[in-house]
Each structure stands twice: as C-alpha cells, then as structure tokens.
C-alpha cells in the first residue's frame, strides 16, 4: 500500500492514518462526518467550495436525519461539477466523500434502498450494498453476453 496504488483506486492516504469500520457503520453518516469537517475548514474564498460544501452537508444531514434519501441528482450535481474547478487542495478533495459514497453505496443514497432500519439504527448495511452491486454487475455482464450472442 502506497500513495500511487491508493490514488489509482481513488482513495488517498492523507496523513497516513487508516480508519477501519465494520459493516454496521452507516456510510451516509460517515460521508456527513467528513463533509462537516471540510465545510468547517473551508476558508470561504471561492464560491464552489464555500457554497458547495454547505449544500452537500445540508443534503447529507437531511438524509441522515430523515433516514431517507433525496434524489441523487442534487448531491451528485453539487459534488461532481465542483470538484475540478476549485482554487486549492481542500476544495478539490471536499466532494470526495460524497462522490465515493455515491460510487460504492449508490443505492443507499439514491433512494432505491429498502426503507427499514437496521437494529443499529442505520439504513441498509453496506455489505448488502456491495452484494447488490456485484449481482447487478453480474446481471449486466450476462445480458451483454446474451445480446452479443444474438447479434
């Protein structure tokens, strides 16, 4: 594990610390935690960072508080567009928690997840999400193979 191999999968080492979480951890809550940090750290000079982090935090807080998701468009929109246009390193990595949560746990954020809560008070467990993503990928692959055979 080094800087380059982690950069390749879109993660970053930061100061060298690792946070280990089990499958009971609510990933939206984790994203909210990191977004809260970047929002507080934002110096407020440039617009996308100052306003964008505020909005992303707001949306994540709403998801956590209401235990249901809002449309993915807004979170993704606020995140993805902002990312490359900012002035400094903080701004550039600020939307990363949102983007990577959307990437790895999309169903949780997009509102297509099951609504019931887990005993731990969290929404769906991430392990299940991964399962779903894997199954979807498998289904997509087999569909592709099928259509390939037809053609």
């Amino acid at each position: 594990m080094d800087f380059d191999s982690l950069t390749k999968i879109g993660a970053m080492i930061g100061s060298g610390g690792l946070v280990v979480m089990d499958e009971d951890t609510c990933m939206v809550e984790v994203a909210r935690f990191f977004m809260n940090f970047t929002q507080r750290e934002s110096c407020g000079k440039c617009v996308p960072c100052r306003e964008g982090t505020k909005r992303m935090l707001e949306i994540l807080e709403r998801i956590v508080a209401e235990r249901k998701a809002v449309g993915p468009g807004r979170t993704a929109g606020a995140g993805r567009h902002d990312r490359k246009y900012r002035l400094c390193g903080l701004g550039k990595s600020a939307p990363k928690p949102v983007i990577s949560t959307m990437h790895a746990f999309r169903r949780r954020v997009s509102g297509t997840h099951r609504r019931e809560e887990m005993p731990s008070g969290n929404l769906l467990q991430p392990a299940e999400d991964y399962g779903l993503i894997r199954r979807n990928a498998k289904a997509a692959r087999s569909a592709q193979e099928l259509s390939g055979k037809r053609n």
Binding site: V47, R55, L87
Partner: protein
C-alpha cells in the same frame, strides 16, 4: 508575445497579464464577478473557468498566457458549471428582486438571466432577521 488558440481562433497576445484579458481582447464575453483589471487577481468567483485541449479546467484570470496555448471558453461542461456557480450564489442570496434597489443593474441578476438559471434546487438559507418595531423611526 505569442499566439494562442481560443475556441479554434488564433489570437495574438502581447503584454496581457492573464488569459482572461486575452480572451476578452478577442471579443469573447466571459462573465466574472470578482475580476477587475486594475486590481490584483483574486480568483474567487471561478466564473471565468476555461478548459484546455486536455480537458483540464482552470480559472483564466489567474493563468499567464503562454505561446501555443489552446483554450476553450464555451463547452457544455463549462456552461453547466457556470450555471451551478450562479445557482449556488443565488441559493444563499436574498432573492427579493422585485423590491431590491439594485434590480435592473445587478450583475448577478443579469448573469443568471443570461445563463438561464431558472430554478434554484437548494433551499434558501439566507438568515431572516425580523424587523425591529420597538421604537418609532420618526418622532
């Protein structure tokens, strides 16, 4: 001194301090809110963001022109991005345009109109201060 390509047009530059000045000299209108030619570059509004041939974006006001530079000012991505910035600004803004004294000569208003910002998807979080009627203003 040198030449750069802006939206496919070759433009000559001489002593312009930044890419934005060259783009404006080529009669391409790029919106800005924080830039003033006589002041030092602040680079905060990010509305003047442009794209190079590799798809890398940068704020044109804080970039020195280089010979052989290729710049795109109006790609769909940049339009979308400028719109989002205006949306973010308006979301934290008092939007009482009908009673605002700046209405009609407001840069933000005219830019939002020009860029087609039709609805703001974020809640208005502008702090509401109730009017203080405890004491009469006139006696």
């Amino acid at each position: 001194m040198g030449y750069m390509t802006i939206d496919g047009r070759t433009v000559e530059f001489t002593d312009e301090p930044n890419v934005l000045a060259v783009i404006r000299k080529a009669d391409i209108d790029i919106p800005t809110l924080c830039y003033h030619s006589e002041l030092s570059v602040y680079g905060a509004c990010r509305l003047c963001t442009v794209e190079n041939e590799k798809g890398k974006t940068f704020a044109s006001c804080s970039e020195k022109p280089r010979d052989g530079m290729i710049v795109y000012t109006n790609t769909p991505r940049l339009m979308k991005y400028r719109k989002l910035i205006l949306e973010l600004l308006l979301a934290a803004h008092c939007r009482d345009c009908t009673t605002c004294i700046k209405s009609g000569e407001c840069q933000l208003q005219s830019l939002a109109h020009r860029m087609g910002v039709e609805n703001i998807r974020f809640e208005n979080t502008k702090e509401q201060h109730p009017l203080d009627f405890k004491f009469p203003v006139y006696r």
